[in-house]
């Protein structure tokens, strides 16, 4: 392999000279005494090779050797990754001994000594393409497929396949051959470069299946779909993280991959603590059993931050190829963009807006495009649903990362500082947020069947009422409470009912935190019924007082188990309260 030496150091940017050929994005190791520090080639200019080091560069000197590996940054995939906690380069953080992260310490992603009960799925003699299922093993109650190599070109023939039995992770379980006597041995492990999309599927289709999140304001107003993309921009303190955690805990997905990209370590710790405790209603196990965490916290080296989102996406693609529904969450993609900016700055590239690199929009678009709903070669389906958060500088949604992401993601969940200040959580703004999927005819059909034929109509009506309520509230603040007709107060307060009962949700209350679709349908119908009712008031003050009582009762309903005795008692109380003022 090519050798080189260090010629310059600027923070985590290393300039090296190489004796031989090197490739863009090639991985190399800097030899600093006993330590070997991983780094990636990011620019080549004449004899100068620019390298970003994934570790602290303290103590490095000019003249230190650099060994190039001839490979790009890769992940190793196979059975045994579920419930692990990796860093951005897929090192297993839990198998590191020391309290502090030691520079140059790398731990294997998979356990080489692990053995798995293999069950064949293919037949000897059949033809095989990249990603085809050859067999499966069971990990944490989940069937993990053993697939034909992802880099297989064209069609191969399955020459041999292991019988059902226990095999080591690196034991050969199949052999493949193509006509030209090229023979390949296949085991349970594969490697794949993280910056290359893994496309071992037959086609990607328009997604149409709603992905339930249990978060009312999303499921009701702006639903996301299996294989869809969405992003959540919001100023700090607006509840991004709480919302993402809620979605990850509740969403109807097989695998959850959580990329903590340049965020607070204590938030990652929260996941370490909570997920192993959370019951998984679908498997009877714990939520952690089907979760992988990629933790690159904000104090970890910045170059690995960029790698972390790609590592997470590649793992997601691996599971999608075996026909699973993957939910990928990245918090926050802004930190990744900032990592790109830091490096672009050190490379002295001409800066784009706010000093971000010029190709930021393209980089983000390429990344979001890797999500999606696919048909595999065998006709099965798999999906990656991707939700990223964005941390807009100064809470300004006109900044480059938000704008670039808006061009790629199909759902936009805008968190509003105003709502957060009013403690209206989740603070997703009902008016400026959108889901493009709601416009898809495929999706509308799906919703009509899954929930009710009039569901989409009701959702649109609720949106209109919210918008109308906002407009009337503006009028009331300009003209004064008694400067407008009482009807204005009536409609405004009816929109508040929708806000308090459907949009607002207590993520820390055991019952309210998760709303199933049947309950959501029931409650939406309930509040829309109230909207259609006509009430009698003597003056505007009565309107607010009346609806505060209505809201309080509906809230008690939200806190009660659906259709429980208590729930029905509150509803009865609500009925009689409504009847007090109702005009037939």
């Amino acid at each position: 392999m090519t050798q080189g030496t260090i010629r310059g150091i600027i923070a985590n940017l290393i300039i090296a000279e190489a004796k031989g050929h090197v490739a863009q994005n090639e991985i190399c190791y800097i030899v600093a005494g006993e330590e070997q520090l991983m780094a990636e080639v990011i620019k080549i200019q004449g004899k100068n090779i620019f390298i970003q080091c994934f570790e602290s560069t303290r103590g490095l000197r000019v003249g230190m050797p650099v060994n190039f590996t001839g490979r790009m940054l890769e992940v190793e995939v196979g059975p045994g990754m579920l419930s692990r906690i990796y860093d951005g380069l897929q090192n297993d953080l839990e198998t590191m001994d020391s309290l502090f992260l030691q520079r140059g310490q790398y731990t294997p992603a998979l356990d080489d000594n692990s053995r798995w009960d293999f069950r064949p799925l293919a037949t000897v003699g059949q033809s095989v393409r990249a990603g085809d299922w050859l067999g499966e093993v069971t990990e944490n109650g989940m069937a993990i497929k053993i697939m034909a190599p992802f880099d297989l070109e064209g069609e191969y023939q399955l020459k041999s396949l292991a019988e059902a039995g226990t095999y080591g992770i690196r034991d050969t379980v199949a052999t493949l051959a193509n006509g030209k006597d090229h023979q390949l041995e296949v085991n349970m492990v594969q490697r794949w470069p993280v910056k290359v999309a893994l496309k071992a599927y037959s086609e990607k289709i328009r997604p149409y299946k709603m992905l339930e999140t249990g978060v009312r304001t999303i499921d009701c107003l702006n639903p996301i779909v299996e294989g869809g993309t969405g992003f959540i921009p919001g100023p700090f303190g607006s509840g991004k993280t709480v919302l993402q955690h809620a979605i990850s805990k509740q969403a109807e997905a097989d695998i959850i991959i959580f990329a903590a990209c340049g965020e607070r370590a204590n938030e990652v710790v929260e996941i370490f603590y909570e997920f192993p405790e959370l019951e998984d209603p679908r498997t009877g196990g714990k939520l952690m059993d089907r979760t992988i965490i990629i933790a690159n916290t904000s104090n970890m080296p910045v170059a690995a931050r960029e790698a972390s989102v790609y590592t997470a996406m590649t793992l997601a693609e691996y599971y999608r190829t075996m026909g699973l529904r993957v939910l990928l969450l990245a918090d926050s993609t802004s930190r990744w963009a900032q990592a790109l900016r830091e490096m672009s700055n050190r490379l002295e590239e001409l800066p784009g807006p706010d000093a971000f690199p010029m190709d930021l929009t393209a980089v983000i678009a390429n990344f979001y495009a890797r999500a999606g709903y696919v048909y595999l070669n065998n006709g099965e389906t798999g999906s990656i649903t991707f939700l990223g958060t964005v941390s807009p500088a100064g809470g300004n949604l006109k900044e480059p990362v938000t704008e670039a992401t808006k061009k790629s993601a199909r759902c936009f969940y805008s968190l509003s500082q105003r709502r957060a200040d009013q403690k209206r959580y989740p603070s997703i703004d009902p008016v400026s947020s959108y889901s493009k999927y709601l416009e898809y005819p495929e999706m509308q059909e799906y919703l009509a069947e899954k929930i009710s034929p009039t569901w989409v109509e009701q959702v649109i009506q609720a949106k209109d009422i919210l918008l109308r309520g906002k407009e009337l509230n503006d009028q009331i603040s300009i003209l004064g409470d008694d400067g407008v007709p009482i009807e204005y107060h009536d409609i405004y307060w009816k929109s508040e009912v929708i806000d308090f009962i459907i949009l607002q949700q207590d993520a820390f209350d055991k019952i309210d935190a998760l709303t199933k679709l049947d309950r959501l349908e029931y409650m939406l119908k309930r509040v829309l019924d109230i909207y259609r009712m006509r009430f009698e008031y003597q003056n505007f003050e009565e309107v607010g007082t009346f609806f505060k009582r209505v809201i309080n009762l509906l809230r008690q309903m939200n806190y009660a188990e659906f259709q429980s005795e208590q729930f029905q008692a509150y509803e009865k109380e609500l009925e009689s309260m409504l009847n007090e003022r109702r005009i037939a």
């Binding site: 310059g8 303290r58 590191m96 992260l101 916290t297 100064g394 820390f508």
Partner: protein, 444 residues
């Protein structure tokens, strides 16, 4: 450490206000050096040319100045003897006492493996209801005061530190006014707490680039006490805005392209490196960081508070309440992200709902006030909200409050009962049944 054989150079090629460059073949990245007797650190190496940032400024440095490379990154001698002492940004005593003997440690060391952290779970009671009730602090948390320079943040911070029941308090004074330095010294002495306190002080009289060293020094000392001694350590850093200003000076002198508000593109990472030292360690020790970020005209969209807000676990705002002529902890803009880990769990069950209901009613009062200022008539409910808000501010939000948390909750229930109906308070009925207090005339 070897004293001899340190390479000496005397050919400086380039000098800016904060840096100088020379040809040297042996320098390593981030190594310390002496330039003309002044401490400096390697920040860039290109081939033979090494660039050093000179902490005390380059005034008077000649091109033939002697440059000695010291062979190590910044260090601090740590040991029990640090307690009760005052040091400068280099870790040298400024209180007239002797040099500290102890183990030499590099500052700005590696980060803790996130999987080794424990989840923070212990309340830090401060007696201030604006903090304990609405923005409860937890050990291992990092939280700044976002304050305008005229606000009494140093006083509040000193109160918090002394009441917080920490084993050790580390004060990092970054561009501290000399008067404030004396204030801290005096208040710690008067409290008889000096033996629990270690201070690293850079005042406004000291060179600004030296400020870059203070957080790392303070945190190296904190890690010694929290990791080696398993102590509960509270680190006070005031004021990190001045630290960021020093960063921008160096980056500017190195011709780097600045990003938003003339701050270096790496600002987020630089601040995260400091704040993320806060942790709950598995063996029982902890580092909690309370910092100050001064704002310019309350603008939190500026790059410094903005990046800080994304790193820290909340922020505290102070505000002058003219209705009661007191400074209060602003319940709208303040936030403690870790409070969810303890409220209602380590504190009384009604804490979360009482806190939210009171803040919501206080918000209604703010709306009523706006209405009044715009010349509209107030409803009877508006009037009650405003009366409630005044007492809530006076008995709970004001920074001169010093009571236990249960008493804060009881006081809030009394105010609820006095001004509102149960429907208006809208708290879970089980809790209302248990804690509701009918109209009680006297409050505290």
């Amino acid at each position: 450490m070897q004293q001899a054989l340190k390479p000496i150079y005397s050919q400086i090629k380039r000098i800016t206000k904060a840096t100088c460059s020379l040809h040297a073949s042996t320098a390593s990245n981030e190594e310390m050096a002496l330039v003309h007797g002044r401490l400096a650190q390697v920040v860039k190496i290109i081939g033979e040319e090494v660039t050093l940032q000179v902490f005390s400024g380059t005034e008077g440095i000649p091109t033939n100045a002697e440059v000695i490379f010291m062979g190590h990154a910044p260090t601090l001698k740590v040991g029990e003897e640090l307690a009760g002492r005052f040091f400068n940004a280099y870790g040298k005593p400024i209180d007239g006492g002797p040099e500290v003997e102890g183990e030499l440690r590099e500052t700005g060391g590696p980060s803790i493996n996130p999987t080794k952290r424990l989840q923070p779970n212990e309340v830090i009671p401060t007696g201030i209801a604006g903090i304990d009730l609405n923005n409860t602090l937890v050990t291992g948390q990092k939280i700044p005061f976002f304050a305008d320079p005229d606000q009494p943040f140093n006083q509040v911070m000193a109160d918090v530190a002394l009441r917080a029941d920490a084993d050790r308090i580390i004060l990092g004074g970054i561009g501290l006014a000399h008067d404030d330095y004396l204030f801290f010294k005096k208040i710690f002495e008067n409290a008889g707490a000096l033996d629990r306190i270690v201070s690293f002080i850079n005042t406004t009289e000291d060179p600004s680039i030296e400020r870059l060293l203070v957080p790392d020094m303070a945190l190296a000392a904190a890690e010694y006490f929290a990791v080696d001694k398993n102590e509960k350590v509270l680190v006070l850093l005031t004021d990190l805005t001045l630290y960021c200003d020093a960063l921008s000076i160096v980056s500017n002198n190195m011709d780097q392209i600045s990003s938003k508000d003339n701050m270096p593109a790496s600002l987020y990472s630089d601040l995260a490196r400091i704040y993320e030292k806060a942790a709950q360690f598995p063996a029982g020790g902890s580092i909690t960081i309370i910092a100050v970020t001064t704002l310019s005209g309350g603008d939190i969209t500026h790059a410094i508070p903005d990046n800080t807000g994304y790193i820290t676990e909340g922020q505290l705002f102070l505000r002058r309440d003219t209705e009661i002529s007191k400074t209060i902890v602003d319940p709208f803009r303040s936030l403690s992200r870790l409070k969810q880990l303890v409220i209602g769990k380590k504190t009384r069950e009604d804490h979360p709902q009482v806190m939210n209901a009171a803040v919501r009613l206080y918000a209604d009062a703010a709306n009523a006030k706006t209405k009044m200022q715009n010349g509209f008539d107030l409803t009877e409910y508006d009037q009650r909200c405003m009366d409630f808000a005044k007492e809530y501010a006076n008995y709970l939000l004001a920074i001169d409050v010093n009571v236990p948390i249960n008493q804060m909750l009881d006081t809030t229930w009394k105010l609820f009962g006095r001004y509102f109906s149960q429907d208006e308070v809208a708290i879970k009925r089980e809790l209302v049944n248990k804690y509701w207090k009918e109209k009680s005339p006297a409050v505290s």
